[in-house]
């Protein structure tokens, strides 16, 4: 009988831990989705993964000294906000998965309201036409993921580390599991 109640209390503790974990995950998801609605952007927070540098100099970040690998950018993409030169936009080129974070250099708007624009990285000597699709000279609103409105430095390094070194990710998960087990007192 004793062992039965022991087993039951152990089961309760485990069940409680699982519920706890589930609550954390769902609150994070709620915050993420909430941010999507408020900012109107499909990915309101983007970690600066890679900066593409176009020149013969040794490779470095294309938006330095403003942003470096691992900085976290807060984006909005509200329709009422027109794109202006000098803004930092995150855009995606057709056929490429990874969005690019550069500054708007030129905007041309036609009488019918159709807008096209050109971008350039701060640290690049030339504009991004070499990055666009073959034959593409301008970006359009549909290519834009969002406009950078705020930023926090260095935070995203953890995400990059976990992406580049899967062993690190497993180590972190293992340590987390260890903490959960240890903390049960």
């Amino acid at each position: 009988n004793n062992s039965g109640s022991d087993f039951f209390s152990l089961f309760l503790q485990l069940y409680y831990q699982v519920l706890n974990f589930g609550m954390i995950v769902s609150s994070a998801l709620m915050i993420w989705k909430g941010l999507m609605v408020i900012t109107g952007s499909e990915s309101p927070i983007v970690v600066v993964l890679r900066c593409i540098y176009l020149s013969v100099s040794p490779p470095s970040g294309s938006m330095e000294p403003a942003f470096h690998r691992g900085d976290l950018l807060f984006l909005t993409n509200r329709v009422e906000d027109p794109i202006r030169v000098g803004e930092i936009v995150v855009f995606r080129i057709e056929g490429r998965e990874i969005p690019i974070v550069h500054r708007v250099l030129k905007i041309h708007e036609k009488q019918n309201g159709h807008i096209k624009f050109l971008t350039k990285g701060d640290n690049n000597a030339v504009d991004d036409r070499g990055l666009y699709k073959q034959g593409q000279h301008w970006l359009e609103k549909k290519d834009v993921v969002g406009r950078a409105r705020g930023f926090v430095p260095y935070i995203g390094i953890v995400t990059i580390l976990m992406n580049d070194y899967p062993k690190f990710k497993y180590a972190v998960l293992f340590l987390l599991g260890l903490f959960v087990l240890v903390h049960r007192e």
Partner: protein, 166 residues
């Protein structure tokens, strides 16, 4: 062993909260600053050509040349000079780091980027305006795009310059 782990855990959690609070403090102190600054702009030479746009689509477009002066006092920004008119073109930009002299005193500057219009809209256009805007990159927080309070009009001539080179 257990107390070491739990102490390390609480230390870690505490430093995370302190860093978060500091970051939030950075954001708060920079978010609501009034950043508008008086800017004096002056344009001295304006010339207009119509050439094949060699920077992109190869159609004949208007190409403007201007020489300008800027006087402004700014702090830790990235500046760009832009034209406003339904269409905007960045003509010149500069990165100003913290510690650099914040006073901008530039005379007889040529444009850094080619002033191509997408078409022939510069000819005879009296509605072209030169303004100075800048992007502030804080330690952490909002990235505002501020426009200086001065602007100058750049009236383009009615005819193309064929002979003179800039």
């Amino acid at each position: 062993m257990n107390t070491v782990l739990s102490r390390a855990n609480s230390l870690f959690a505490f430093s995370l909260s302190v860093m978060a609070a500091l970051t939030f403090g950075c954001f708060i102190t920079t978010a609501f600053k009034d950043r508008s600054v008086p800017v004096r702009l002056h344009v001295s030479r304006i010339m207009l050509k119509n050439v094949e746009d060699f920077t992109g689509p190869r159609e004949r477009s208007d190409l403007g040349f201007i020489t300008f002066d800027i006087t402004a006092d700014i702090l830790h920004r990235k500046c760009s000079v832009a034209f406003f008119a339904l269409n905007q073109v960045v003509l010149w930009d500069k990165i100003v780091l913290r510690g650099d002299n914040p006073k901008l005193l530039l005379k007889d500057m040529k444009t850094k980027y080619f002033f191509f219009d997408d078409g022939n809209g510069l000819k005879g256009n009296r509605n072209v305006t030169l303004t100075l805007s800048w992007n502030v990159v804080p330690n952490a927080g909002i990235l505002p795009l501020v426009t200086g309070s001065g602007h100058v009009s750049v009236p383009f001539p009615d005819t193309y310059e064929i002979t003179k080179s800039y």
